[in-house]
């Protein structure tokens, strides 16, 4: 075991897979010689050579189209979209091609690609470096969507994503690349050192896609969160002293519906937290699923704590970001009903 930050754990996963599987290759904007704007591929080109990790033209559509063709050939491409905000030129490739290739060809062709993209706010990135577009992908039949919340999970899930034979969107909460940000922007940022989930094996291991993690067991209310919001939710639980069960979904598709259902049937209350806009967000699907499966155990309306339905505003970042106080309010709302 070694102490790693999330970005180090992602780097370690890529390193492990390049070493393990000669069909794995990495490409994207600035990922080659330079090592990526967030350093996820630092030194990998020097270590594995220019055909295993290389730069691309500034063309997200071209990057994903190329990856799909390579995947159809038999490779396992891992591509980086520099910011999730910039993935939209590749959206057609992901929706019309990657997601449907296996289905429409009767199983003759498939695209075992992994699309990594840093996402989410809290970094003063304004409306073009802060978006949380997960619901654009979870809505599409044939795509898997993964979001880690700790270095350990980031590495294990990324390895599982690369080895998966379906296309996987791997969204990395960039605000917690270097430390487990809990939403308190006015206190000094802390590093991952000695935080839960920062002990990471050096070598190969997998965290299987489709399994949620209960990161705090509790009886009073179930909190469903992923990415940065797991840490914000834990902070809110600590501040309020409410005996909440906090579930880190880790995998949005495939979703661990069993863990969610068991928990809400136990607590009878549910708060859903995400940073993305609320309307038609992933929380809407979670809310519908919980209502369909746990309605007769529910003792209160399901509460959603989310980003507002506006673009991410630069100067009002902390008004937009659903911090611990808003989550705490949501918890109390669920308990008081």
């Amino acid at each position: 075991m070694t102490q790693m930050s999330m970005i180090q754990a992602i780097h370690s996963a890529l390193d492990a897979m390049l070493a393990r599987d000669p069909n794995v290759l990495i490409f994207g904007e600035d990922v080659g010689y330079f090592g990526g704007v967030f350093r996820a591929t630092d030194g990998l080109q020097a270590k594995y050579g220019p055909t295993r990790c290389f730069d691309t033209p500034l063309s997200e559509g071209g990057i994903v189209a190329t990856a799909i063709g390579m995947g159809a050939y038999g490779l396992r491409p891992v591509v980086e979209i520099q910011f999730a905000d910039y993935i939209l030129p590749a959206y057609d490739q992901l929706v019309s091609e990657a997601a449907r290739l296996r289905y429409r060809s009767g199983g003759e062709f498939w695209a075992p690609i992994t699309v990594r993209a840093p996402y989410g706010g809290g970094i003063y990135g304004g409306q073009t470096h802060s978006a949380s577009p997960e619901a654009l992908f979870t809505h599409v039949a044939g795509l898997k969507t993964i979001i880690p919340a700790t270095p350990y999970d980031a590495k294990g899930l990324l390895i599982a994503a690369i080895e998966d034979d379906d296309p996987v969107i791997f969204l990395e909460p960039k605000r917690i690349y270097n430390g487990p940000f809990d939403g308190r922007h006015d206190v000094p940022a802390k590093p991952w050192t000695d935080e839960p989930g920062s002990d990471v094996p050096e070598g190969y291991y997998r965290v299987s896609l489709g399994s949620a993690a209960i990161c705090r067991a509790g009886e009073a209310v179930t909190v469903l969160a992923y990415g940065t919001m797991v840490h914000v939710a834990l902070r809110a639980v600590e501040e309020t002293g409410i005996d909440a069960e906090v579930i880190d979904l880790r995998s949005l598709v495939p979703l661990d519906i069993e863990t969610i259902t068991v928990s809400v049937n136990k607590t009878g209350r549910c708060v859903i937290v995400h940073e993305a806009t609320r309307y038609c967000g992933f929380g809407a699907e979670l809310s519908a699923l919980v209502q369909e499966r746990c309605f007769y155990r529910l003792e209160a309306p399901i509460v959603r704590v989310t980003g507002w339905d506006t673009p991410y505003p630069h100067a009002f970042e902390w008004d937009y970001f659903p911090g611990p106080q808003r989550v705490a309010k949501g918890l109390r709302q669920a308990l008081e009903a």
Binding site: L75, R102, G142
Partner: protein, 411 residues
């Protein structure tokens, strides 16, 4: 102050509309044999005249002339002729089947058969074609079973696509034919990625991809061109310029500002402009680009100049937007007639043999269609409904399983 006339907005329009005489006088085609043939490994910068020429081998009298003459064995030419004739017979039968309500939709490739049949025979086993939906002659030239084509058209129990795809959107991996979809252009970049993968592995396979003239306006086209050029991908990128994208003539995609082959110049890719109704020219150009690709010299852009004789699809009535006699006025003739005349001039074919083959192929198609109809036309005997929940993922997730139950097709 300069005394200029006011600006005016240019909206391109075709040279003839319904009720007018067909007019192709604006197209200038060099004579057969006139366009030079540089060695395939010539630097791109020394070949920038080629996109403005027209590679033609077959002269009006059926003689093969000029430097692009590929000197193919007669048996191969006869195979190409048979594939094009079978394609036309098949298209006619399936189009009629649509009119009889046996399927939902059809698209004919009439007049364009050479642009897919010749590459099919020029490529090697293991190469991959990323086709358009008007390229069934590629499969037919490789003896893909007619039964599969018919069953897919009827979406019956024998449909290899399991009832998931519109007619013509085939996939045949073992025949080097990539999965089709109805959206245009978005597989152009897959061909580049596929070719890059072959190079990455140190293999010798190449890819060949096609879009229509209209699709060159899509971003996918340009993205694929950039990647192909940057990584020297062993891929042949083709534009089948059949003059019409549904009702939009090729000028609407910029075809009157320059040639589609000349799009290559901006990317540093060689551009060949080829008579797409000349089987020998299509074959020779494919061979030239394939040789270049296999020698690590990277991609070539080829424009096949042809004409879409039929409507866009069974839902289209071209008499609403183009002159009725346009197909007959098309200056590059018919690919089947031209290859037939050539074979006759070689003493390797005759009118009698041609008629006999046409009859045989008609029977072959009739038998395949009958067998397909017996298995089921659209909606009569579809593949098991439970299969519609398969292949969304490699392994169905809980939603697929739950919804399969909900749909009542679990067993």
């Amino acid at each position: 102050m300069r005394n200029l006339p006011p600006l005016h907005l240019h909206i391109p329009a075709p040279h003839a509309r319904p009720g007018e005489a067909p007019d192709f006088s604006y197209l200038t085609f060099p004579a057969p044999g006139a366009t030079r043939r540089p060695a395939p490994l010539t630097p791109e910068a020394e070949m920038r005249d080629l996109p403005y020429g027209l590679i033609r081998v077959l002269a009006e009298d059926g003689q093969a002339v000029g430097p692009w003459h590929p000197h193919l064995p007669p048996a191969l030419l006869q195979k190409g002729l048979r594939a094009m004739m079978l394609t036309r017979a098949f298209d006619d039968r399936m189009f009629a089947a649509h009119h009889q309500g046996k399927t939902s939709f059809y698209m004919k490739s009439t007049g364009e058969e050479a642009t897919a049949a010749a590459p099919s025979l020029a490529l090697q086993p293991g190469d991959m074609c990323f086709p358009t939906y008007r390229m069934v002659s590629f499969l037919i030239a490789r003896d893909y079973p007619l039964a599969n084509l018919v069953n897919q058209t009827f979406a019956n129990a024998g449909d290899p696509m399991r009832g998931r795809q519109l007619p013509l959107l085939y996939s045949a991996r073992d025949y080097g034919f990539y999965s089709l979809a109805g959206n245009v252009g978005s597989r152009f970049g897959h061909a580049v990625g596929w070719a890059m993968a072959s190079a990455f592995k140190g293999d010798d396979k190449i890819a060949m991809a096609f879009v229509g003239d209209g699709t060159t306006a899509e971003g996918n086209f340009h993205e694929a061109m950039v990647f192909a050029a940057v990584y020297h991908a062993p891929v042949i990128l083709c534009v089948t310029n059949n003059q019409w994208a549904i009702s939009s003539y090729q000028g609407m995609a910029g075809g009157e500002e320059t040639t589609f082959a000349a799009r290559g110049i901006g990317y540093g890719l060689p551009g060949l402009r080829v008579d797409g109704n000349d089987f020998l020219a299509v074959y020779a150009a494919t061979q030239w680009a394939a040789e270049r690709a296999r020698a690590n010299y990277g991609a070539t852009l080829i424009e096949f100049v042809t004409y879409r004789v039929a409507g866009h699809s069974s839902n289209d009535d071209p008499s609403r937007y183009r002159p009725s006699g346009e197909a007959r006025a098309w200056p590059l003739g018919d690919p089947i007639e031209r290859l037939k005349t050539h074979l006759i001039s070689l003493g390797e074919w005759s009118e009698a043999r041609h008629e006999e083959l046409a009859k045989t192929l008609h029977e072959e198609v009739r038998a395949a269609a009958k067998a397909g109809e017996a298995l089921g036309t659209l909606g009569q005997n579809p593949p098991p409904r439970r299969e519609m929940f398969e292949h969304v993922f490699k392994t169905p997730d809980w939603r697929n399983l739950e919804q399969r139950r909900e749909c009542g097709v679990d067993q």
